[in-house]
């Protein structure tokens, strides 16, 4: 396949940034999207140019590090797919592909397609955990958990923190990310003692970071590579309201 890429290039946070067009040839349909960028970068390095900086690591869809807006859609148009698991067989030969970073004020661009998502870590720091020192836990079987609850908690817990939800939301809201963790822990008996304080602290941190509010647009779940359901946000809102009384 031969492709034309329009890539967002921005040397540093201060740089204004611009779209640059590259031609990539001999792309195999079995390549992943990132492997296609590797090919471009190898060429750029040899030409003495700066390769396109992008975040990636596990390349098997689980670490959450990769992420770019492809043709206007976070992680591209394939449903429930991270960028590293997107393969070129889904594109037409001679296609023009636009590649941009996540865009949201709380995710400042570091370079090219790399953004700073440390706001997510700070939301977790606010309360996205169960306080349990190592070595003091009771026997695991002392606390049975209904299978349906464990399964539902698991569904929420699979969030990989990639930030696609924020990039896709017209409000730049981090609700889906925050709600996934709140829901995961609030469905389990272990999460109960800190349930109220957690919901309050995490929601307040999310706001403090500058993420927008949720207006139930649903763009977040549409692009979520892990299919985190929208009703986790309803769960978060219920928990937050109850905790704020």
């Amino acid at each position: 396949m031969n492709l034309t890429l329009r890539v967002w290039r921005q040397k540093s946070p201060e740089d204004k940034g611009r779209m640059v067009t590259y031609r990539v040839e001999d792309v195999s349909p079995d390549m992943s999207f990132l492997e296609m960028l590797d090919v471009l970068n190898e060429r750029l390095i040899l030409e003495g140019d700066d390769p396109v900086a992008f975040d990636h690591d596990c390349r098997e869809g689980i670490c959450g590090m990769c992420g770019m807006v492809i043709n206007g859609v976070a992680h591209g148009e394939q449903v429930a797919t991270t960028t590293c698991q997107l393969h070129m067989r889904h594109f037409e030969d001679n296609a023009v592909i636009t590649i941009e970073p996540w865009r949201a004020a709380p995710f400042p661009v570091v370079k090219d397609l790399v953004v700073d998502r440390s706001a997510f870590d700070r939301i977790i720091q606010a309360g996205g955990f169960v306080s349990v020192p190592a070595g003091s836990a009771p026997d695991a079987h002392s606390l049975p958990v209904k299978k349906v609850d464990a399964d539902a908690a698991f569904d929420a817990a699979t969030c990989i923190g990639c930030g696609a939800c924020v990039a896709a939301c017209p409000n730049g809201s981090a609700s889906l990310f925050t709600a996934a963790k709140i829901t995961h822990l609030s469905l389990l008996p272990q999460g109960q003692p800190e349930r109220d304080s957690r919901a309050r602290a995490m929601v307040e941190q999310m706001d403090a970071e500058g993420f927008g509010g949720c207006t139930n647009t649903g763009e977040c779940t549409a692009v979520c590579p892990k299919g985190i359901p929208l009703d986790t946000i309803a769960q978060m809102n219920r928990d937050y309201l109850k905790a704020s009384k």
Binding site: D55, A137, I160
Partner: protein, 640 residues
């Protein structure tokens, strides 16, 4: 061969006496640090995976001043997150005859009698606490309808002792550790530096006293000092270029420490995982593993006849060779990883492989779907099937998956004693970065166990014994400056080298060479070839590599080039280690050493030792640590 032999080495920290009591004894014997003194003690932890994340969180909770580093943008991205299958624990919740002793026994045997009994016994003991800890943190393990934890069986074991969270066990355990870590960051006990890479170890007055790191965003070279340094930087499987490791996994932290005096043990022990998606083309950047839990229900086969390229549906049952079930009736498809991997290689070498290039075997769920129904199979393995389809474009519900072995985990690493301390006082090494618990082979679901055992339970106790004698005072400025200069020189050299090839292209070539000559099967001849070629290629790399960009910016080309340079040096040591060990064991299969059935033939008389390599300007120096087996009788492993 280009190495010399030095004095034997010994672990002096494991207590004597009955094996069940040793860890208790050591814990009691370890000095304690008064809580008021803990906050005066600084510990650096490199890496935030299961080992590093859990260690930093626990040390922070205990009251030490912890500084933690990872190269990713968040500690949650560490590659432990990709572990799929599960974590072993001797809970015996199934009542199927499991016990701490049995887990210990299976692990020592599975490691082909090249691990220490004391360490492995402790691992089995602590495994029980790991599950408790994770459950208390809210890790959503699979559960039975009665609300109790579900378990499954895994390669190399005949009891059902593997706890799991669908196919994402590593993810859930890592997020548990990450959340504990973030809690400590909020509490101010851990200071986290993301997007920082360790480039050298500071050793002053014979002690590890800090690290030189590069801020990967600004390029700034920083010095961080401490009373002790913990390396939890993972394994070095990416020396093969193609592996199941994340792209960023590298050897730099442990290799730099090795050059500063930490011995490197058993570097040649590489685990090849039998169930990976086969390579599809030259451009490929990594390999993806399919959890070996798939072997619980999937049946592995190839056509009986070589060169049979009929579609699967047209190959009748009696023309299929379910070779694992045939050769190993007791374990069948669940034989350990080294056995399953080599068996796959053998049938492909016979010309019976399937898929492009004949480098693949079928993993077939047709029987399981018939027996259990598609729904049940989907519930158990859905996410794995989906992943397979995404990568290959083939539907594994209607045609068998194709799998092939790939480099997965490295059992070698920096030498540590029972306290997890390296040969440099004050340098502790945990998780995959050390060599200690798996011997020549790692059984399924045991890496997560070791990472968390080291991080939550073992290191936080043993490091206290070292820190009780601290704080260790001012650090000699000369040692710091020297390390910093070395780092800057290397960066400048890479950047000023205006060559014609990229670091990645050298890495790819080195990887191919390693896979071919020091991969699943090694011979004296192949290893000698590698040892000829590696230095040549390394020299060419240093003359001809091209790295674009500047030192003081986010520069991914520079990051890679630095790591590839260290992989060259490590690759050479791996081959030297593999060449000197003229026996087969676990992940190290020397073709010259096999029995009449083609199974690995150990040589306990000559090789029942850990090979600990000291760095030397004139070539490596081998120190042997003899392994004694008091409890598990050394025997030929047999899974037939």
């Amino acid at each position: 061969m280009r190495y010399t032999e030095g004095e034997p080495i010994r672990d002096t920290k494991a207590p004597e006496g009955p094996i069940e009591d040793r860890w208790e004894k050591r814990k009691f014997g370890a000095k304690l640090v008064n809580p008021a003194n803990k906050r005066k003690l600084n510990v650096i932890v490199i890496g935030t995976g299961l080992a590093g994340g859990s260690a930093a969180a626990t040390l922070g909770e205990l009251g030490y001043n912890v500084t933690s580093f990872c190269y990713q943008d968040s500690p949650r991205r560490a590659h432990s997150i990709a572990a799929q299958g599960g974590i072993n624990a001797a809970k015996n919740y199934r009542g199927d005859g499991d016990s701490i002793y049995r887990l210990f026994y299976d692990t020592v045997k599975g490691g082909d009698f090249r691990a220490r009994e004391s360490n492995v016994y402790r691992l089995a003991q602590v495994s029980v606490n790991i599950i408790d800890q994770a459950v208390a943190q809210g890790v959503p393990f699979a559960r039975e309808y009665g609300g109790l934890l579900d378990t499954r069986s895994f390669g190399g074991a005949q009891v059902s002792r593997t706890f799991y969270a669908r196919g994402q066990t590593g993810q859930q355990l890592l997020l548990g550790a990450y959340q504990a870590l973030e809690r400590q960051i909020a509490a101010g006990t851990v200071k986290m530096h993301t997007r920082h890479e360790m480039l050298d170890l500071i050793v002053a007055d014979g002690r590890a006293r800090g690290v030189i790191v590069r801020d990967m965003v600004t390029g700034e070279i920083e010095r961080h000092l401490a009373d002790a340094v913990v390396l939890a930087s993972g394994g070095y499987g990416n020396v093969f270029f193609l592996s199941t490791n994340a792209k960023g996994c590298n050897t730099t932290a442990i290799w730099r420490a090795h050059r500063r005096g930490a011995m490197f043990a058993n570097p040649c022990y590489t685990q090849i995982h039998p169930t990976c998606i086969p390579v599809s083309g030259e451009y490929q950047s990594k390999l993806t593993l399919m959890s070996e839990s798939l072997r619980n229900d999937g049946r592995v086969w190839v056509p009986v006849k070589g060169g049979d390229d009929r579609p699967v549906s047209q190959i009748p049952e009696d023309e299929r060779d379910y070779y694992l079930e045939r050769i190993y009736p007791a374990f069948g498809n669940l034989v350990p990883r080294d056995i399953a991997s080599r068996a796959a290689k053998n049938v492909c070498d016979e010309g019976r492989g399937v898929g492009p290039g004949g480098l693949g075997v079928y993993l077939d769920f047709a029987d399981a779907i018939k027996r259990l129904g598609r729904d049940a199979v989907e519930k158990k393995y859905g996410n794995l099937f989906e992943m397979y389809e995404r990568i290959t474009g083939e539907d594994p519900y209607t045609q068998p998956m194709r799998i092939y072995p790939a480099v997965h985990y490295t059992m070698g690493g920096l030498w540590v004693d029972y306290d997890l301390q390296s040969t440099i006082p004050g340098l502790f090494v945990i998780g995959e970065a050390n060599f200690s618990d798996h011997g020549a082979n790692r059984l399924g679901a045991s890496a997560l166990m070791q990472g968390l055992a080291d991080g939550y339970f073992v290191l936080p106790t043993t490091i206290g014994d070292y820190l009780a004698n601290g704080p260790y005072g001012e650090v000699d400025e000369e040692a710091v400056a020297e390390a910093e200069v070395a780092v800057r020189e290397k960066i400048n050299r890479l950047l000023s080298n205006n060559g014609t090839r990229t670091a990645d292209s050298y890495h790819r070539e080195l990887g191919k060479l390693m896979w071919e000559y020091c991969g699943m099967e090694r011979t004296e001849e192949s290893l000698r070839k590698a040892l000829e070629r590696i230095p040549e290629l390394r020299e060419e790399f240093w003359k001809n590599v091209k790295v674009s960009g500047e030192a003081d910016e986010l520069n991914q080309a520079l990051e890679r080039a630095g790591r590839v340079a260290d992989f060259f040096d490590l690759a050479e040591l791996m081959c030297i280690d593999a060449l000197h060990r003229t026996e087969s064991c676990g992940g190290h299969f020397r073709a010259e050493s096999q029995d009449a059935d083609g199974e690995a033939l150990r040589d306990d008389e000559h090789f029942a030792y850990v090979a600990a390599w000291e760095y030397g300007e004139q070539g490596p120096v081998l120190h042997k640590e003899d392994l004694d087996y008091e409890y598990v009788k050394m025997s030929q492993r047999s899974y037939k």
